[in-house]
């Protein structure tokens, strides 16, 4: 029942393999460019590829960026635990630093970690300490490889990181990790209801969408006034509102705990 892949599927796969992650609009353009047959929906096209990728524990997964609310397609490892995919590119102590950075980010209210705090971690690594200059180089590598984003000395997890590692993070952090009330995905950079008994979280793009055109924004859970600034919704964000949280379904689909690969 699984359709075989044509050259267009293979081209699409090769491109996403070399990029790691592509934006939804890029995916649409690439699909048009690669496609021999017309009228095939992008998601069906990707499903054909995903069926063939299953034995290799790879998957093209859709996710939303916490920052711009846009959708992305990432090629991910499908495995239950661990940062296996990164394991082939980084040394043990670099991986440990990444885990610690992730800890800082998840713990924080803002979903960020300052370079100062990360440098302090580098000094107390169990595997092998990293000096300041080495740490900066490693952090640059993480940013270049699209696992972290950096702005003004503050680091956040990239959309690629979250899309790939969400199952892992949910397992590791359990209840300690914030979840968005609207889309049910992990929420690191988010707004929070200030009512003590409530405290629900929402991604900024999710806030923008939820409170769109409402003059009196109220918390969906406790109905108290929502005290934060409501961000503007981006134009392209509204167009993809039907396709939203596909990644949340995949969180519950554990596949055999095997490693996989690639960029």
């Amino acid at each position: 029942m699984s359709r075989t892949m044509g050259d267009s599927h293979k081209r699409f796969l090769q491109t996403i393999m070399s990029n790691g992650i592509i934006g939804a609009s890029q995916a649409v353009a690439l699909h048009k460019h690669c496609c021999e047959t017309h009228g095939e929906r992008l998601d069906d096209f990707i499903n054909v590829i995903n069926t063939q990728l299953q034995p290799f524990f790879m998957h093209i997964r859709k996710g939303m960026s916490e920052e711009d609310g846009l959708e992305y397609y990432a090629l991910v490892n499908v495995t239950e635990t661990d940062i296996t995919r990164m394991a082939s590119d980084y040394a043990d102590n670099e991986l440990e630093l990444f885990r610690k950075t992730m800890d800082l980010i998840v713990d924080s209210e803002s979903g960020t970690a300052s370079s100062t705090d990360i440098l302090n971690c580098a000094d107390s690594l169990r595997t092998k300490k990293l000096k300041k200059k080495e740490t900066e180089l490693v952090l640059n590598k993480f940013v270049q490889d699209k696992w972290l984003k950096e702005k003004d000395g503050e680091y956040t997890l990239s959309v690629r990181c979250i899309v790939e590692m969400e199952p892992y993070m949910r397992t590791i952090y359990q209840d300690l990790i914030k979840v968005c009330h609207v889309c049910h995905n992990i929420a690191l950079q988010c707004q929070m209801c200030e009512t003590p008994a409530c405290g629900i979280k929402m991604h900024l793009p999710c806030v923008a969408r939820y409170f769109r055109a409402r003059s009196d924004p109220r918390c969906p859970a406790c109905n108290d006034f929502w005290p934060h600034e409501i961000p503007e919704m981006r134009h392209s964000q509204s167009q993809s509102s039907q396709n939203l949280p596909s990644s949340s379904k995949e969180n519950t689909a554990p596949t055999p705990s095997r490693r996989s690969r690639r960029t």
């Binding site: 293979k10 796969l13 635990t81 394991a87 043990d92 102590n93 705990s257 095997r258 490693r259």
Partner: protein, 261 residues
């Protein structure tokens, strides 16, 4: 920190950490030729189709990871780290691996060294026109490599190392200095490109002080189309590629023989 070590071990099941034991390759590889057909038959009966499929998938993953670093894959390593007890049906597994690379990824697993059984992955799909340019992450080192390959090819296939260094210096890439983009240029050219089998860098015998020469490596021979390279040089000098008759002949010959393989 050895990234190569990481690449190998990362392909395995997360619960098993493999140590990079240095192995006598000939020993490991010799097993393959000593397998009898009755052993193969018995082995095929012993393993379920699912188990074999899983082994095929593991080999594919292993090769993809190794190829990420552009390190050629040795058959001995595939046997030792992945196939292991399934060695008797090695051929059947590898046949399926070749097919999988073609059917799913559009890649070709090519043997560049039939004596030592070394493989690389190359792209089977021809690039189509109008491809959104920003989709292919460019690597400046590719440009550097291409210049060197062009020089070697245009000069008949082998050049003294000084020719390469002088050409690069004209492009403001000095092997003696640290380069903004490439860092230690000499290391990239004589170590990284050689390890990746793009170049060969060998000592010229009886030279004192020791001089080395550059040739195309086995990977370049398989991956790079000489005709396309000649086209590129033609554009660079605004000349018809056929005006270099000898090189054009070499390039055409290389093209036909690669189409046959």
């Amino acid at each position: 920190m050895s990234q190569r070590k990481k690449a190998v071990s990362a392909s395995q099941n997360k619960t098993q950490r493999r140590s990079q034991v240095s192995l006598d390759e000939d020993d490991e590889d010799a097993h393959f030729s000593q397998i009898t057909s009755s052993q193969v038959q018995r082995a095929r009966e012993n393993y379920t189709s699912d188990q074999i499929d899983r082994k095929v998938a593991e080999v594919v993953q292993f090769i993809l990871i190794k190829d990420q670093k552009k390190i050629p894959i040795r058959r001995a390593d595939i046997g030792k780290h992945v196939i292991k007890e399934y060695k008797a049906i090695y051929t059947e597994i590898m046949n399926r691996v070749f097919r999988k690379f073609d059917q799913v990824f559009g890649l070709k697993l090519v043997e560049i060294d039939s004596k030592n059984h070394i493989y690389i992955l190359i792209n089977k799909l021809e690039p189509i026109h109008g491809e959104p340019v920003n989709m292919r992450p460019g690597n400046p080192k590719t440009g550097l490599l291409f210049v060197i390959l062009s020089v070697i090819f245009m000069k008949g296939g082998v050049v003294k190392e000084n020719t390469v260094w002088n050409t690069l210096k004209k492009l403001r890439v000095d092997p003696g200095e640290k380069h903004d983009e490439f860092g230690d240029v000499k290391k990239v050219v004589t170590d990284e490109f050689v390890r990746q089998k793009y170049l060969e860098y060998v000592k010229i015998p009886h030279t004192d002080p020791v001089e080395c020469e550059f040739r195309w490596g086995l990977r370049a021979e398989k991956e790079v189309s000489k005709l396309k390279l000649l086209d590129f040089v033609g554009e660079l000098f605004d000349q018809d590629p056929q005006s270099w008759t000898q090189q054009f002949r070499d390039a055409s010959a290389a093209e036909t023989s690669s189409q046959r393989s």
